[in-house]
């Protein structure tokens, strides 16, 4: 199904190209305009990142003294990295580790729990199913920052504020993950398959782990990476929950530096810039992976037929 679709697609494109070469001028012109528009957009999206890349190679003096979008004569990246990772008893390294713990553990558990729930909502008929699903849908629309304040008060009642748990536990609840898993499970896990496995004597959990999870892989990866990015980028929740600097994730740590820059602490600018660059590397890797799996996801949808 997907193959015939892609063949048809390729054929349409071919025809379009043939048509373009026949009609000539007008389509070519629109193509040029489109390319110019795309290039200008690319500059808009890439230049701030380029600035970050260039600035991380500069000393504090050069950061303020030289033009931002070109390199300074002296290459200072390694000195900056060394300063970044040793400053204040390597607090940045601790933040990096914390972010990895929050986002890594949080997203893996979130993926497992939400796919399990989404699968159950898609593939079983039971009382309360629709009610649960509407709760999940409603929860997607609740602003998470509106939750953070009362969550802080509850956590302090339970004595959990200023611990890893206070950030980790709320991060593993992903209503959007349940929603996505449900949609995907109902489209990609055939009922006949589940029924067949049951007749073969497989347990329900076994069916989920060995059959459903494999068929749902693209959705699972999407949930995993979305949740990873969401936790990695989260600022408000840790801001509310944590006061011990050693528990901070990178976002909170960098902003703490940002508030204290200037004056005597002008050198912190270089550190923030280098730290910001390092903090985006894991996500860039993750996003490249996401794109690859997204393509896979589009193909798997066709297996059903």
């Amino acid at each position: 199904m997907s193959q015939t679709a892609s063949i048809a697609r390729a054929r349409v494109k071919e025809q379009a190209i043939v048509k373009a070469s026949h009609t000539g001028q007008p389509i070519k012109l629109s193509g040029i305009i489109a390319m110019i528009f795309l290039f200008i957009s690319t500059i808009y999206f890439i230049v701030p990142f380029l600035w970050l890349l260039i600035s991380s190679t500069k000393s504090t003096g050069d950061l303020f003294g030289t033009f931002g979008l070109w390199f300074a004569p002296s290459f200072n990246l390694f000195a900056n990295l060394q300063q970044l990772f040793t400053y204040d008893n390597s607090v940045y390294l601790q933040w990096l580790l914390n972010s990895l713990i929050y986002a890594g553990i949080g997203s893996i558990i979130a993926m497992f729990l939400s796919s399990l729930a989404g699968y159950a909502l898609a593939k079983y008929v039971f009382r309360g199913r629709d009610f649960i699903f509407s709760c999940v849908l409603g929860a997607i629309l609740v602003p998470t920052t509106a939750l953070a304040l009362p969550l802080y008060l509850l956590m302090s009642k339970w004595g959990l504020t200023n611990t890893y748990w206070s950030v980790l536990l709320p991060s593993i609840v992903s209503p959007f993950g349940v929603y996505l898993s449900r949609i995907y499970a109902s489209a990609s896990v055939p009922d006949e398959l589940i029924e067949a496995a049951r007749i073969d004597g497989a347990g329900e959990m076994n069916i989920f782990v060995t059959i459903a999870m494999r068929l749902m892989t693209p959705a699972l990866v999407t949930v995993l990476l979305f949740q990873f990015v969401a936790i990695w980028n989260n600022y408000f929740l840790p801001l509310v929950m944590l006061s011990n600097e050693r528990l901070f994730p990178i976002t909170l740590g960098l902003q703490t530096w940002n508030v204290t820059t200037g004056g005597v602490n002008k050198f912190l600018y270089t550190q923030i810039v280098t730290g910001a660059l390092i903090s985006s590397i894991p996500l860039i890797i993750g996003c490249i992976l996401l794109q690859r799996f997204w393509k896979g996801g589009l193909g798997v949808g066709g297996v059903k037929n």
Partner: protein, 317 residues
């Protein structure tokens, strides 16, 4: 592979005499057990905080006499909500967010739609490169994006200001009282356009190519196909991105917080979320902050549900 194995086992079963599936108590309990782990956490960290916020918002802390004694907590009914409704600082924030949302959300989504349509069209090249470039900002934490743009706005550091100065032109004051809102809007647009583009792009990819073929046979141009086929068919994706953007706008917090140290034009009540935060942690008035959070959540829900209702009626669903 596993799929093929199981598929073949399906067909072999169909050939043999089919046994009726066992309906046991175990099977009936399974879905509940599957939903349970998520459900418990959902109750604890989603439903309970909402309930607790509503409960807290009904109280207030008061000091007796000269305000020297310990504060006591008293039931205040809907008093906090009355105060919110008459609080000019709350309206200041709502005003900023509304003005911002009315401009930024349509601009960003139009931009994302145009980029997605171009990347789905036949007239451009280097699509993989462009897609990655546009999506790059999504990989940069919101706080970092705000820091980055903060440096672009800061006259001391900004390469944009440097270019203006080199050309002997007056550089815009990005951090000025009027421009700061649009500087914030620009950060959000930069950060989220690629993400929205990808959602729309995925929807475009799902459209059956036969439709285009039919349209071309009828003599439809690329513009016609985009306008009459593609855009209507990706409308659900557009609605989804729009709802997410409305929610994001209502929660505006990170960017103004990051810009506060370099600009004097962001007050503690610049956005409703900022106001709720400072009310809770700056002045320790948790009860009033809870009321603010509840009102903000309700306003957001009304806006996003309202938007969904209107668009669905328009679409004739």
């Amino acid at each position: 592979m596993a799929l093929e194995n199981t598929l073949s086992s399906v067909s072999s079963i169909r050939l043999s005499k089919q046994k009726p599936p066992r309906q046991s108590a175990r099977l009936a309990a399974t879905p509940y057990l599957f939903v349970l782990p998520f459900g418990i956490l959902f109750l604890l960290f989603f439903v309970l905080p909402v309930g607790y916020a509503i409960y807290q918002s009904l109280f207030r802390s008061q000091r007796s006499g000269l305000g020297l004694g310990p504060a006591t907590i008293a039931f205040n009914g809907l008093g906090n909500y009355g105060d919110v409704i008459h609080d000019p600082k709350f309206y200041e924030g709502i005003g900023h967010v509304l003005l911002y949302g009315v401009v930024q959300v349509p601009v960003m989504l139009c931009f994302a739609l145009i980029l997605a349509l171009l990347l789905d069209s036949t007239i451009v090249r280097f699509k993989a490169f462009f897609r990655l470039a546009f999506f790059l900002p999504y990989a940069i934490p919101g706080i970092v994006a705000a820091l980055l743009w903060g440096y672009f706005y800061d006259p001391e550091l900004s390469p944009i200001v440097a270019i203006f100065n080199a050309l002997h032109l007056n550089a815009p004051n990005f951090l000025g009282p009027q421009d700061i809102l649009w500087s914030i809007a620009n950060i959000a647009t930069w950060a989220w356009t690629g993400y929205n583009m990808l959602i729309i792009f995925a929807a475009l990819q799902a459209i059956s190519p036969e439709l285009y073929e039919a349209a071309r046979m009828d003599g439809g141009s690329g513009w016609h196909i985009a306008w009459y086929i593609k855009i209507p068919l990706v409308a659900p994706a557009l609605i989804l991105t729009c709802v997410f953007s409305i929610i994001g706008t209502a929660q505006l917090f990170n960017e103004p917080v990051v810009l506060t140290p370099i600009s004097n034009n962001i007050s503690t009540s610049y956005t409703p979320n900022l106001y709720a935060y400072y009310t809770a942690f700056g002045t320790n008035n948790y009860y009033y902050a809870a009321a603010l959070a509840v009102v903000l959540a309700v306003v957001t829900a009304i806006l996003s549900f309202g938007f969904l209702r209107v668009t669905q009626r328009q679409a004739g669903v």
